[in-house]
Symmetry: C2
Subunit: 226 residues, 2 copies
DNA sequence: CCTACCGATCGGTAGG
DNA sequence: CCTACCGATCGGTAGG
């Protein structure tokens, strides 16, 4: 039974929002126009910043006229929020897939994943999400927080927390085995910082591959097992 | 003898810039108005971002009318550049002072600083510069790169490079002694990432002190001396 | 440093 | 999704 809401729906379904009604992602087959807007917005927000990108820039990059993005999104801010949510949902899916795949590989070798191997999978996937192909969404989320309203902010933060929660037991296990030293919470924050900062300097044509970067990170953070 | 400049000063000192002549930092005793503008601009740029801060916001915060900041700075961009340069110059001074002081302390104990102790001094000072009192300037530099023109960018980058250069021999020594593992360049980039990211989450009322944070960082990055 | 102002741009909307 | 448009805001300037 759904929770009782103080105001129930109006009798004949009067649209409540301002202006024209807007489609949701799954309404009609041309949701690809919406996807296209998300893609170009993510790219522009990343390269120029949210405030420095006009909705006209976005429309032009998607081959539309200046007013048309507002047919798909209520506001520029809603578009930003959608970019962040889309990015986090993809990241969550990829993280789950990577962990599941690594688990299966281990099983086929009749082994269990060590905490160190788990961390390697998480770090490698994080780099993919952050600086790999189609990686504009997550940097936008990391660097454009300020432009969200409090409620949008907490919606995105919930997804981000889910993403980071996966790391906690892994880091705890490494802490317990002595492979990770120091305060556990501070270590986690510092590690995420080291990883997230790569979005600032890593270029696709960087001499170091993402595998090499993963190696460097694990070597930096982890001690030999005592 | 000063270097010969292709165009020497005009005979009777005609101002070359547009509009009213602007004072430099040392011209007259009310350079404190300029300093005040830098201070409030740094604070607003940090909390709202460069693009989301209007020159009217800055003027109001400094107790001026909307047009007055342009008496002190040629443009909003020039003000941003000045914030970053001022911040880097202070950081460089504080870094040099901290290292010198630590060297003197060691000398008084008839010892030399170990590489590990040097790193501790650098990290601790970096946290001070980044999230300590009057720490708005450096986060602005770290997060508002995009709004600079190429030439302004390289001017700031030169200062940033000078700051980071001090760390290189220290990290190299730790690498040589086996206290720091993995590719040296990548380790340095990851370490700066971990430190710089604290500007995103550290609050002055944070439970961890900057000393505790320094401990956590050194424990995370460094191995025991083999 | 203030007053008064300009031209440009921006997010967003009505109506089709 | 386009056309045509509005009100607000912004960086910056002339003149004192």
């Amino acid at each position: 039974m759904p929770a009782a809401t103080p105001t129930s729906d109006p009798p004949e379904s009067v649209p409540r929002s301002r202006g024209r009604p807007r489609k949701t992602a799954h309404e009609r087959d041309d949701g690809n126009r919406r996807q296209e807007l998300l893609r170009v917005a993510a790219r522009l927000f990343r390269s120029q910043g949210f405030d420095a990108t006009s909705t006209r820039d976005i429309a032009a990059a998607a081959g539309m006229r200046s007013g048309s993005p507002f047919y798909h999104f209520e506001s520029k801010e809603a578009l930003l929020t959608a970019v962040m949510q889309e990015g986090m949902e993809r990241a969550l899916r990829r993280q789950a897939d990577a962990m599941a795949q690594a688990g299966l590989d281990a099983q086929r070798r009749h082994q269990t994943l060590t905490a160190r191997e788990c961390l390697r999978v998480l770090v490698r996937n994080h780099f993919d999400v952050l600086v790999g192909p189609e990686s504009d969404f997550i940097p936008v989320m990391l660097y454009e927080w300020r432009s969200l309203s409090p409620s949008e902010r907490s919606a995105v933060k919930a997804l981000k927390d889910r993403y980071e929660t996966v790391w906690v037991p892994v880091l705890d296990a490494l802490h317990a085995s002595g492979e990770l030293s120091g305060d556990a919470r501070l270590a986690r924050l510092l590690i995420f910082g080291a990883l997230n900062w790569t979005a600032q300097w890593y270029q696709p044509n960087e001499r170091a591959s993402l595998d090499a970067l993963t190696d460097a990170a694990l070597q930096l953070f982890l001690k030999d097992k005592p």
